[in-house]
């Protein structure tokens, strides 16, 4: 199982870097989907099958579909690819790389101090639901209000046409 974790983690890292490096937006989106699916596999390996399948349904299956839907409507061609390429200059990499290196250093520092013992515990649907509708019920309600507000706003925007 732990080998599966490392394979999925490597795929996730490579795919996420590829999202940044891709100049073709559709290919970049495909790498992002791959990265999300790799994260879903990581969740599954770590004993959270419900979180894993929700990651696949919500992020990879619903949100990214809407991204692709918007891209289809925008009619992007060669000129956006050239524009993307002109933005990815070597000089633009310096500051973000430095900042990311600092963060990576901190992460390695923190990780080296904690115990790596992996205790595979299965967190099923029941456990997650009991938490969501127990201690975290306020967060669930707030999220649903936010979604309802988004729905009303979308209805309003579509109606005035």
């Amino acid at each position: 199982m732990i080998a599966l974790f490392y394979i999925a983690a490597i795929i996730a890292v490579i795919a996420t870097v590829a999202v940044i490096l891709q100049t073709n937006i559709v290919h970049g989106l495909l790498y992002l989907i791959l990265s999300l699916l790799a994260v879903a596999v990581i969740f599954y390996v770590l004993g959270a099958p419900f979180a894993a399948v929700l990651e696949a349904i919500v992020y990879a299956g619903a949100i990214m579909v809407l991204f692709l839907f918007v891209i289809m409507m925008l009619n992007l061609g060669q000129h956006t690819r050239d524009q993307e390429r002109s933005w990815l200059t070597p000089r633009g990499w310096i500051v973000p790389s430095l900042l990311a290196a600092v963060l990576l250093g901190q992460l390695v520092n923190v990780m080296s101090q904690i115990d790596h013992e992996l205790i595979p515990a299965q967190i099923g649907v029941m456990e997650v639901s009991a938490l969501l509708f127990g201690p975290y019920v306020l967060a669930v309600e707030l999220a649903s209000i936010l979604l309802l507000a988004g729905l009303v706003a979308a209805y309003h925007l579509a109606k005035t046409k």
Binding site: N24, V26, H27, L30, I33, P49, F50, A52, V53, L54, A56, I57, A60, G61, A62, V65, L66, L68, F69, I71, M72, M73, G124, V125
Partner: protein
């Protein structure tokens, strides 16, 4: 080698039988359509046209596999592969019989929904990468249709999940020993049936590929085996939806003892396949806006009310 869940024999049998059934369905569908529309159908090749599928396969395998020079090659090539992969992966959690299946998963129903939502990429990428107006129109329609009907498909299943208390497909089948879920969940069944047809975009919901309006929709530019994969995946999707209805609402492998469980499963699943083909022969295609407003204004409230009533009844029975 013994026949048990997850054994190589079981996996190989499922894959082989599903793909061969899907290929044979192409002929079966044409013959049945001919029968219902009072014409002959393909009856020349082999005994009553039974070898028609072989002729079709030889033709499609030897055709030129052409990628248009203006297409985005990467997306164009992987699009048919995605739909084949996700549809075949969905069969991993289907319980065919007590001892036949790939995995016994606690998230079976959710896994099917995840695979169904990933299937949308295939038609979207196929249309987008073709760089063709008809293909783009087709995949825009497909995207909106599949994303919308996924919602009702998921909600209509929740009644069954609530009655069983599990997402595990085997437990869903076993809990139907006292009575199939078609009786308490009739509304859920009807919504799932409609959403299932829309999800596999078969007639009468084949709006993404409506030949009379937009050429062939998202696979206009496809030829050879790449088109063949879209085509066969549609039939595998038909087998999948029929198997799902059998498992979720009609007791899966359960049935009187005089036939083995796998045979009961096959009989029920084939009855639904035949029903879907009859629907193709009998029901006209709706308009695109009719499909959308029917889904969001009728099916969504209905499925929510169904879930609410199911919840109230379960709570009051406790």
């Amino acid at each position: 080698m013994s026949l048990e869940i997850g054994s190589f024999l079981s996996i190989g049998l499922i894959l082989g039988v599903v793909i061969i059934t899907a290929a044979l369905l192409i002929t079966v569908e044409r013959r049945l359509l001919g029968f219902w529309q009072e014409r002959l159908g393909p009856n020349r090749v082999g005994w009553f046209g039974s070898l028609q599928v072989v002729a079709d396969m030889i033709k499609i395998f030897t055709k030129e596999d052409w990628v248009p020079p203006f297409a985005d090659k990467f997306s164009f090539v992987i699009a048919p592969g995605i739909i084949m992969t996700v549809v075949l992966l969905s069969f991993a959690v289907i319980p065919f019989a007590p001892n036949i299946g790939v995995i016994d998963s606690n998230i079976g129903v959710l896994f099917i929904l995840a695979m169904a939502s990933l299937g949308a990429y295939s038609v979207m990428l196929g249309g987008l990468s073709s760089d063709n107006k008809y293909a783009l129109l087709g995949s825009l329609r497909a995207a909106a249709q599949m994303v919308s009907y996924e919602v009702f498909m998921g909600i209509s299943l929740l009644g069954v999940v609530a009655l069983t208390g599990s997402f595990n497909m085997r437990e869903i089948v076993e809990s139907q020993a006292d009575g199939w879920y078609i009786i308490p969940q009739f509304i859920g069944f009807v919504i799932f049936l409609i959403a299932g047809v829309a999800e596999s975009h078969r007639l009468p919901f084949d709006i993404p590929e409506a030949e009379q309006e937009i050429c062939a929709g998202y696979h206009t530019e496809y030829s050879g085996m790449k088109f063949g994969m879209f085509f066969v995946a549609e039939y595998i999707g038909l087998v999948l939806i029929s198997s799902l209805i059998t498992v979720l609402f009609f007791g899966g492998w359960l049935g009187p003892e005089f036939l083995p469980p796998i045979l009961w499963f096959s009989i029920k699943a084939f009855a639904f396949i035949a029903f879907f083909i009859l629907m193709r022969a009998a029901v006209p295609r709706p308009r695109y806006d009719q499909l959308m407003s029917y889904g969001w204004l009728f099916l969504l409230p209905l499925s929510l009310v169904n879930l609410l009533i199911t919840g109230v009844i379960i709570l009051s029975m406790q």
